[in-house]
């Protein structure tokens, strides 16, 4: 089932078209929304939340119409915005409890839940500190905590690792991965940091100039077409490459002792590799079906 279905959506800011006739189905799980700056990712999220009115087209979130059922949608979703945001003059636990109350939780439930969520987001020690005194990393976590407090079924995370140091980034990605796997919460992560998406998301939607240019599961997108294998040699070996060429292989690339070979057919790949190794005196340490990085997929899609 799709958590969000968008069909022929167009959003304009005056003369500028931010989202242009976009149609996409966002599946359950953790989905990455990728795209260069200005691709329309944040506008898409804001439209799904009902903050921005589309010029044409429609969107459904969790089976509800984004244009007419914004309130119901916001009851069941959480938003972690990209920009710093908090309620001024409040400490963390008051802020998160207040966010829970705004989402309709009775005050005592909201307070209890605020403590739980702050512990979960690793802000338990700092829960009584004024949010304005928080570091960038802590502000990111409190934004996540306020998005989670009312138990949403879908969370929008807009650039969740912005401004985080490597340790903070690891912890944030771990939290995102934990929430989105096995907790019944769907997550849409908007980011231009590809390693973050690669670590947390099951599938991605790549946007460019307000349109979807690539979509699919991370593993499918990374897979290379045809029969391509990566071979790890002990040392770079030209005789080995020559022996493989004689066996119908094409050398796609070579970085040090790692060689990517394209084969014409899949019959006895292992036997052919080892025969070539014996013939050339090279030592094969391993081989596997070749895959691309998400960065390659992204660059190919947006270029």
């Amino acid at each position: 089932m799709a958590v969000a279905t968008i069909s022929h959506l167009t959003v304009r800011y005056g003369a500028k078209t931010a989202v242009n006739d976009l149609s996409v189905e966002i599946p359950e799980g953790c989905v990455g929304l990728l795209g260069p700056n200005g691709a329309g990712k944040t506008t898409l999220l804001k439209t799904l939340l009902g903050f921005v009115s589309p010029a044409s087209g429609s969107g459904e979130v969790l089976g509800m119409n984004a244009a007419t059922e914004g309130m119901k949608i916001r009851q069941r979703i959480g938003l972690m915005p990209e920009i710093d945001c908090h309620i001024p003059g409040m400490n963390a636990v008051t802020f998160v409890a207040y966010a829970g109350e705004l989402a309709g939780m009775p005050a005592n439930y909201a307070l209890g839940r605020a403590h739980e969520v702050l512990e979960y987001c690793k802000l338990g020690e700092a829960r009584y500190r004024n949010v304005e005194t928080y570091s960038t990393g802590m502000k990111q976590r409190i934004k996540l905590a306020q998005a989670l407090v009312h138990g949403p079924k879908l969370i929008f995370l807009d650039e969740p690792t912005n401004g985080l140091d490597p340790v903070g980034r690891d912890e944030m990605l771990e939290l995102i991965r934990d929430i989105s796997h096995g907790k019944g919460v769907n997550v849409i992560v908007s980011s231009h940091l590809l390693p973050d998406i690669e670590r947390t998301c099951d599938s991605v939607v790549v946007m460019r100039q307000g349109q979807v240019v690539r979509q699919g599961s991370v593993s499918d997108l990374r897979e290379l077409g045809g029969l391509t294998v990566d071979v790890d040699l002990r040392h770079p070996s030209e005789p080995f490459l020559e022996a493989m060429r004689k066996r119908g292989a094409t050398v796609v690339s070579q970085i040090g002792a790692q060689v990517r070979l394209a084969l014409l057919d899949d019959t006895e790949i292992g036997r052919r590799l080892f025969e070539a190794a014996r013939e050339s005196g090279a030592q094969v340490r391993g081989f596997r079906p070749a895959s691309r990085s998400l960065q390659d997929v992204f660059l190919e899609a947006v270029e």
Binding site: P81, P88, A99, L102, H115, A147
Partner: protein, 322 residues
């Protein structure tokens, strides 16, 4: 038999909450119709935490204490047949004038103005600065809930600050002067007093919310509000004197077209009191009750204008149109 306790879960050693895993919330939800109250309650609670608020409240109480005490002395002297009866004014206006003097005296007006600055300037401006609207409007509340909640937080605080001392003064009169015809002569006075407390709270809260929504700086909002309050008062006085110097009735009316003037003029109408003469002649037309209809129209414009100004500016996202 082994009585050793099982080892605690790893998380329990660092937190009082044993289970630190994420759990979904499946508990009850309150009705959406009362969500504005969450915002309003937060506004009132925020005001009560400010020490300056309590200082201003103490100043608000002062006129009631002083006027109540002076009224008591004058009444005692009048009972003894002294000339103090003249100072108390006509019998039917005596108690209304007591409430008018307490509500519209300089101390009370300035205290209400200061409280408005303390609680109203940052009500939306501080949210704008902290991007709090993103938090509010990503939750299931509407712009209307947010705006009404913010307005109600300021309004209720001001209303209660004005009303509570009035009720104490009313109780004082009830205890001491019921036998002198306090209730018999003024059967609707309590309603008039409530109305008179309602008006300043309504005007102050609507205008400050309107200005606050347009800024990210509470200080700037305070400066603009103070400008409107004081400069408006001076301008209306100058306008009245320069344009209608020869028409005392119109002069009296125009001089009420400021924030404090509107409050004074409408409250004077509600309580139906002419002013005490003081240094002026008792037949001075500026002491008379001003025409109420133009004042009500101006008050409605202030209230509606403030709320529309705020509503126009409240947006979850700042859309830059290019």
């Amino acid at each position: 038999m082994n009585y050793d306790l099982p080892p605690p879960p790893p998380s329990a050693s660092v937190s009082n909450i044993a289970d630190l895993t994420y759990r979904n919330y499946e508990g009850p939800l309150v009705s959406r119709a009362v969500r504005w109250w969450i915002v309003a309650k937060s506004g009132v609670q925020g005001a009560l935490k400010k020490p300056g608020f309590w200082v201003a409240v103490a100043f608000c109480l002062l006129p009631y204490l002083i006027h109540g005490f002076v009224f008591y002395l004058q009444q005692q002297m009048a009972d003894m047949g002294g000339p103090a009866a003249m100072l108390l004014g006509p019998q039917e206006q005596r108690f209304g004038r007591l409430f008018y003097q307490s509500l519209c005296g300089d101390t009370n007006e300035i205290s209400m103005f200061v409280i408005t600055l303390l609680i109203g300037t940052g009500s939306i401006a501080a949210d704008n600065r902290a991007n709090a609207l993103m938090v509010y409007l990503s939750k299931p509340i509407t712009k209307g809930d947010y705006l009404f909640g913010k307005w109600a937080g300021v309004f209720l605080t001001l209303f209660l600050v004005a009303l509570l001392p009035c009720l104490l003064l009313f109780l004082f009169c009830l205890v001491l002067y019921t036998s002198d015809g306090f209730l018999k002569d003024n059967p609707t006075l309590i309603l008039k007093v409530i109305g008179s407390c309602f008006l300043p709270a309504l005007l102050h809260s609507s205008l400050i919310i309107g200005i606050s929504a347009w800024s990210k700086s509470p200080r700037l909002v305070g400066a603009v509000y103070a400008g409107i309050y004081f400069v408006g008062g001076i301008l209306s006085w100058l306008l009245g004197a320069s344009l209608f110097g020869s028409d005392p009735k119109m002069n009296n009316l125009v001089q009420h077209f400021s924030l404090s003037g509107l409050m004074e003029g409408i409250i004077q109408n509600i309580l139906h009191v002419t002013l005490a003469a003081g240094l002026r002649r008792p037949d001075d037309p500026t002491l008379e009750i001003p025409m109420v209809a133009p004042l009500i129209v101006a008050a409605i414009l202030v209230v509606v204008g403030g709320i529309i100004a705020a509503r126009t500016k409240i947006k979850a996202v700042e859309v830059v149109r290019g």
